[in-house]
């Protein structure tokens, strides 16, 4: 995946998260810790994962997300599955 595609994927993830958790998109940045930026707990993070899988038609084992804290990092994991 090239840089443009990765940036687009990250932006789509941020849009999805902002809509799901009712946060202004402008208040999020690609390198935010999305747990803190979205103010979500582990159950809500699972819900985000489900919506990501639906939106991008991928299956993401959640252990691959351990240690992933930013939207950029999230995009890297998803890109491997597209």
């Amino acid at each position: 995946m090239n840089t443009t595609d990765h940036t687009t994927l990250t932006a789509r993830l941020m849009t999805l998260a902002s809509e799901r958790f009712d946060r202004p998109l402008a208040a999020l940045s690609a390198d935010d810790d999305f747990f803190h930026a979205l103010g979500i707990d582990s159950l809500q993070a699972l819900d985000l994962l489900t919506r990501i899988e639906e939106t991008f038609d991928v299956e993401v084992p959640d252990y691959e997300l351990q240690g992933v804290t930013t939207f950029t990092g999230l995009a890297e994991v998803i890109a491997r599955r597209l």
């Binding site: 747990f35 707990d41 582990s42 993070a45 699972l46 819900d47 489900t50 899988e53 639906e54 084992p61």
Partner: protein
Amino acid sequence: MEEPRNPGVDRGLTSDGESPPASTAGGTTTVGTAGAFRGEALSWELAGGVLEVTLHRAPANEIGTTTLAELEGLVAALYAGAERGTVRAMILHSAVAGGFCAGADLRELYAGITARRAAGDAEAAIEAEVRGFIDRIHATFDALDQAPVTTVAAVHGVVFGGGFELALCCDLVVADKSARFAFPELRLGLVPGFGGIPRLRRDVGNAVIRDLLLTGRTLSATRAHELGLVSQLVARGEALNVARHVAAQACRFDADVTRAAKRFIKPLPAGELAREKDLFCALFTSPVVSEALRRFTESHDARPYLP
């Protein structure tokens, strides 16, 4: 669309004047007097032949001693109602936003063990207590599994560990698209102990089970439906409504035929269940489990400890 559920609560559990078996539940025992029950962890009511059971213990319906006692009361009411012909189907669902059930109450389990050890109790006594709890869980879950009526789990959100195992006791699983299924037990140094693996082996292939068990990963409802683990996949928030239609359909069939069909198609894997109990109890004494439980229960991070 017509709702299959009758608006009023059927008093069928007690309408014939008999006294159904007393609930062993920790909450107020109301089965014998009101045809409905409201406990600390779950409640039920009967309408149109359908016993609708609601799990409502925040934060995520963790199964500890209170829930187990109330589930034992449910089994007594279910079998008594089926025997009298007043209960023709059962729905099990959760009123908790986070999901159906997150599994065993690890905090209660860890607190109990820690207190017993601090009091100087012998490890053998602690192991015997764990074995006693697991024996009660298995007896209750086996009874739900073999219930003489059609049973439907309506699930959403987390369906983890013991919660997954509880859902697998039911004949049919109706899942909304938010549901995620997992066996996270290996992350705690254990295997699932409430009978989930032997029950799931009836439904899906061993490769699927190995993937779930050996990685501890979660599975979406969509994927679970593709694999045959979920009977019906429905929109978010619609699992209970759909389950009511399923239960209403089940009520149209002859009760004896339904019972015979279940006996034919859904045998209890008794041998594997017994071996699972032994394995769980053997693993439970490991220091790995104590350390994993300590780290899990003491974590206050939004991202709880899970290896």
